[in-house]
Amino acid sequence: MASTSFIDRRLGVFLALLAVVTVGVPLANTALSPESGLHVPTYMLSLIGKYLCYALLAVALDLVWGYCGILSLGHGAFFALGGYAMGMHLMRQIGSRGAYGNPVLPDFMVFLGYEKLPWFWHGFDMFWFACLMVLLAPGLLAFVFGWFAFRSRVTGVYLSIITQAMTYALLLAFFRNEMGFGGNNGLTDFKDVLGFSLSSDGTRVTLFVLSALALGGGLLVGRWITMTKFGKVLVGVRDAESRTRFLGYRVEQFKLFVFTVSAMMAGVAGALYVPQVGIINPGEFSPANSIEIVIWVALGGRGTLVGAALGALIVVAAKSWLTSAFPDAWLYALGLMFILVTIFLPQGVLGLIEKLGRGRREQPEPEAVEAEA
């Protein structure tokens, strides 16, 4: 059951573990010698950093799905837009060091015969502007999309389908060279950010720590939102939308707000992801990506925020292990995990952990007993 303290046991434990990882992994990378058994190589550090971005993305989805019942199958699009906004800045940072040596135009534009920079690439040479766009691009898309969808009271499966259509449409659009986002190759060959080389260990560690902080921050923002009366209205919308309306709440405004905040959070995750993996391409918009986020959240435990983050970490870690060990089995394994969790663990992995924890402490929490009564 949801506890009433701001940092409850669940969040406290997760944040403590996250703090250990935030300090421990960079230390193990920089302070320990490569011969040491506990040394974390830089590629591994960035891999974990990437997982943390996925975890933030899962928290963003849980905020709308777990708490408000909006099953978005298009959250990958917000992540990708945040990623593209950051990628555009990194592209412009390359400057005349590109293969064609053009001081303004990125390589792919020179290759495609662009005479000048398209209007929407202006401003991205400034870091602050790119950061603003990391929030605004996904936020604005979510706002406009949500404004139409929620006002027309599109809900349930229909809403899920149009979110999926949204990300698919963007996938097709970003694939086109004429769009000016590098077509199917996307944006890559990044050199540095704010003057720091992206291949240096120091930059890598900084990006890692920033990702961990963003995840922690996302969890705290999510926790704050869901603890307020606003958050309780969201749960009301999820469980009995008409009751909320008849109490005088304008449900569409509540949905719109949380959907937009969630999209921005996803955008931040994407922006931190791109410099760590060194590329962003239209594949990030693929509908399958968005569906996978839903699986993370369901597997970890929907409507708990922490569970969503946990689910993402478990699945992506399992994915990188399985795809290298048994490349063909991954999709089946993912499907199987999803089915097993849905059938046997409706509260997700987090629910299981907490149940086991309660069993060990023997004394069941009073609230939980009443809830089952």
């Binding site: 009366k229 309780k232 008849f246 009443e370 809830a371």
Partner: protein, 253 residues
């Protein structure tokens, strides 16, 4: 009923010749009715008579094809949605009890308390002393004080009905629309509900839809009999029960 009623003082709600059909079926067919301020009114009628649809139209959930619904002498309700009619002061209890099952009883009432319903106000909301006291009072009234920290989903059917009535009262509405409140209640609970609704009336207008004749008798108020989407008879329970048409379509089933 004539248009003059519209100007009358003391009218809380006025339905004038309202029509609504679904795929050619006339669910509401020339319905007119006046509810005065503070009045308690029972609406009865066989299944499918259009009782719930009438409430849908009053609350802006369903738009009438024709006719007018006037609130407090001047506002036309047919242009408004559910949230707007709620904000005007119309509270509605659904036929199937609808509470927030995963919230505590207390939070259900907190969410219903009158006040700013905006996004910003909800984000910054802090409960005031007076509001806490009001919740205590309501819990006492609907006899759920000992259940205040329980999840609403764990309540019995009758308790959910009462919680929903408590939520309605928390809204401080001018008019309560109560759809079959006694369903699933024991006889004792039914009688207490009738008593509760009688107490509420006077300060607020109350329209109660009900099938249970003992309950309607206990309400001891003017009764409107609905049949095929229109008023068949209106008056005291004894008066309408003596009406030959009413006996045929409804009471004498």
């Amino acid at each position: 009923m004539s248009d003059e009623v519209r100007g009358l003082k003391g009218t809380q709600l006025y339905l004038n010749d309202v029509h609504r059909s679904f795929d050619g079926y006339k669910a509401i067919n020339g319905l007119s009715m006046v509810i005065t301020e503070g009045e308690l009114r029972a609406v009865v009628g066989p299944n499918g008579a259009g009782k719930t649809t009438m409430l849908d139209i009053i609350t802006g959930k369903t738009r009438p094809d024709q006719g007018r619904v006037i609130w407090a002498e001047h506002t036309d309700l047919t242009k408004l949605d559910e949230a707007s009619t709620a904000r005007l002061g119309i509270g509605r209890k659904f036929q199937k009890p609808t509470v927030f099952e995963t919230h505590t009883v207390e939070d259900n009432l907190m969410l219903s308390l009158a006040g700013d319903r905006g996004v910003k106000a909800s984000l910054l909301f802090r409960i005031a002393k007076a509001q806490k006291a009001r919740i205590d009072e309501l819990l006492e009234l609907v006899r759920l004080t000992s259940a205040r920290h329980r999840l609403a989903g764990s309540l019995s059917h009758g308790q959910k009905q009462w919680l929903e009535i408590g939520m309605l009262l928390a809204q401080e509405p001018k008019l309560l629309l109560v759809d079959e409140p006694a369903a699933g209640m024991t006889d004792a609970e039914t009688m207490r509900t009738a008593e509760l609704l009688r107490d509420i009336a006077g300060k607020r207008s109350v329209v109660v839809i009900e099938h249970d004749m003992d309950f309607v008798r206990a309400l001891d108020c003017k009764v409107t009999v609905l049949h095929r989407g229109a008023v068949l008879a209106e008056g005291s329970l004894d008066h309408v029960s003596a009406n030959q048409e009413v006996i045929e379509v409804y009471l004498g089933r």
